[in-house]
């Protein structure tokens, strides 16, 4: 059974009298443990699709299932639990809480799951060390560089040891070397721990770790290319 299954997904945004058709009948299947790269021009609906994959948004029509469970049938609280436990989301705009330190930001998903304080702190430090921010744990987001914020966001996405990591341009703000470290981290998650990774990227390096590349154009998948 595929981990994620989308069929006939459409997403319309209403702007006054006109509609923006961000997704227009999209089908997509993602298997457990694979790394999928999502590419496409700006405005082609990549972020929109990621939000639907991560149960952050609901499609206008179509069917979305996570682990065989239709998302439409879940209550709001069940969706919250799903997001908290199974999905790690790295946003294109990071979305860190400005009032909290790097460590607290990474702890946040664990707080809502009720992870005990000590365990939480240890895990946050471990993850921040993994992304190379061991000496930045007390910094607030506005005291971090763009690349550092992005890495905090990645650490946070990993906090609850999710099944799937959805990363919207995770290396967009990083130099080749740091970007390489992050990509290697994601690759290991997939290879070693069997995690599923979907990443939106324009980075040829990132495409290289992906098992599959999916191109979006005008709200539809136009090409799927399997990497060898």
């Amino acid at each position: 059974m595929p981990l994620l299954e989308l069929a006939g997904i459409t997403k319309d945004y209403r702007l006054g009298k006109t509609f923006v058709h961000a997704l227009r009948g999209l089908d997509l299947t993602i298997e457990q443990g694979e790394i999928v790269a999502l590419m496409g021009p700006s405005g082609s609906g990549k972020s929109t699709l990621m939000h639907i994959l991560g149960a952050l948004d609901t499609p206008t029509s179509g069917m979305a299932a996570f682990d065989g469970q239709s998302l439409q049938q879940l209550s709001e609280n069940q969706l919250v639990t799903l997001r908290g436990r199974k999905v790690g989301f790295v946003f294109q705009t990071f979305n860190l809480v400005p009032t909290l330190s790097a460590q607290k930001n990474v702890e946040l998903p664990m707080i809502f799951l009720g992870v005990p304080k000590r365990k939480r702190a240890a895990r946050a430090k471990e993850l921040l060390t993994k992304v190379g921010l061991a000496d930045r744990i007390r910094h607030k987001p506005n005291e971090l560089s763009g690349g550092e914020r992005q890495r905090v966001a990645i650490a946070r996405a990993l906090a609850n040891n999710p099944e799937i990591i959805l990363a919207d341009e995770p290396t967009g703000n990083l130099d080749t070397e740091t970007g390489g470290t992050i990509l290697e981290l994601l690759r290991r998650l997939s290879v070693d721990d069997g995690k599923t990774v979907v990443l939106v990227t324009h980075d040829p390096e990132a495409v290289r770790i992906a098992g599959r590349v999916i191109r979006l154009r005008d709200g539809r998948t136009v090409e799927e290319k399997a990497n060898a």
Partner: protein
């Protein structure tokens, strides 16, 4: 998890220091006003109560003319009543009783230089000697001029005169006056044993002097002797009754009132608790009025918190989206924001309570200096707990609405909010 929410709420409060303080100020001004006004009210109440207890004693009650006290007060009817004082003294539970009766009588004094007798119609008051011996706190400072004395229990045909009467009748201590009673009774000659010292106006009148002012124009004779002039008492102004130790004053007072009424005395028994509750109604009306005014400022404070919470929630819409995206339920969001606004309310409450108590102490001292009394400073535990609980609630309620609104926003919309 509650602890974590406290930390989250706290860090957000600290992050917006100035605004948070402004909100807290909005709350504590209201709370300060409420606490100060209520505390001063309570202090006044306590002070009056203490004063009443000091004069009255908790074991004593007063028999006043019926209808002269309480809600059914009327100007109708006589302000004097019939009384069998000897019978009252034998009533179960009564230890001592003392009464005052008053008449106007034709009185003759000593001859003047032309040999004419000084004479006139003058008020004559019969006082139980016990009034002076046992109820001194009621009588206050009755003092006689040097060389004289007040009368004692054994005295019968002695009189104490007010200064003005003594001058008018041309008598001095040791001389005599003649008082005429009812037509069918013989006149009686009294020896003047004392002349009341004129009250020194500098000193405020103390004690239960309203019933029997140490009047300069009155002649005082022993209560018992009044009977020889006017027969059994029909003309009592006031009676003081002390109950036996350990007896329930209110019970004895009620019984005395009922039985005296049955015997034809138109009396009302007033105990310490009657007086304090009568004063209590007045002071609590005043307190309630003051608290009402203070409540308005509190309401303004509450609206202030709501306003702050509203802006705070609005500008953190994105943050709410983030928290929901990483697994926060609506109830979590709600808790965090309600705790946050509740904490601001509580801090405002603590600061306000402290300031309010301080202010009430200062106000009491000033009022006390103005009226030359010591006003009790009351820090009521009930008031303090209620205030702290109330201020937390105020903040929480003020934060509830904006927080609910924010928590209901769809995640993606919240995330996109700038």
């Amino acid at each position: 998890m509650l602890r974590d929410f406290l930390v989250l709420a706290g860090s957000s409060i600290l992050h917006r220091k100035i605004r948070s303080w402004l909100t807290v100020i909005g709350v504590f001004i209201g709370i300060t006003a409420v606490v100060a006004l209520i505390s001063v009210g309570l202090g006044l109440e306590r002070t009056i109560d203490d004063e009443v207890a000091k004069v009255f004693g908790v074991d004593t009650f007063v028999l006043a003319p019926r209808g002269s006290f309480g809600p059914a007060r009327s100007s109708e009817g006589s302000n004097q009543y019939a009384l069998d004082l000897e019978w009252l003294r034998t009533l179960d539970g009564v230890q001592t009783a003392a009464a005052v009766r008053q008449r106007t009588a034709f009185v003759q004094g000593q001859p003047g230089p032309e040999g004419r007798l000084a004479q006139g119609f003058l008020p004559v008051m019969g006082l139980s000697p016990e009034l002076i011996t046992s109820f001194s706190s009621f009588v206050g400072s009755l003092e006689v001029e040097p060389g004289g004395r007040l009368f004692q229990e054994a005295d019968s045909v002695v009189a104490v005169l007010g200064r003005e009467v003594a001058t008018r009748l041309r008598v001095d201590v040791g001389q005599t006056i003649v008082i005429a009673g009812d037509a069918d009774k013989p006149e009686i000659t009294f020896t003047v044993v004392g002349i009341l010292a004129t009250a020194d106006d500098e000193r405020p009148q103390q004690g239960f002097t309203s019933g029997m002012p140490a009047s300069a124009t009155t002649i005082y004779i022993p209560y018992g002797t009044m009977e020889s002039l006017w027969g059994p008492a029909q003309d009592v102004l006031v009676t003081l009754v002390r109950t036996a130790p350990g007896r329930d004053v209110d019970e004895v007072a009620n019984r005395a009132q009922a039985e005296l009424r049955a015997r034809g005395s138109r009396v009302t028994a007033i105990t310490y608790s009657d007086i304090s509750s009568a004063i209590g109604t007045v002071t609590s009306t005043v307190s309630a009025f003051l608290a009402g005014i203070a409540g308005i400022s509190l309401l303004v404070g509450g609206v202030g918190v709501m306003n702050t919470m509203f802006t705070s929630v609005l500008e953190r819409t994105k943050e709410i989206g983030i928290m929901k995206a990483v697994g926060a339920k609506n109830s979590h969001i709600l808790s965090i924001f309600v705790i946050e606004s509740g904490m601001m309310g509580l801090v405002g409450g603590i600061v306000g309570t402290l300031l309010g108590l301080g202010l009430s102490a200062v106000a009491s001292a000033i009022i006390g200096r103005m009226f030359d009394v010591r006003i009790a400073v009351v820090a009521s535990p009930v008031l303090i707990t209620a205030t702290l609980g109330g201020s937390f609630l105020l903040g929480a309620v003020a934060g509830l609405w904006p927080a609910r609104r924010a928590s209901k926003l769809p995640v993606v919309d919240a995330l996109r909010y700038e």
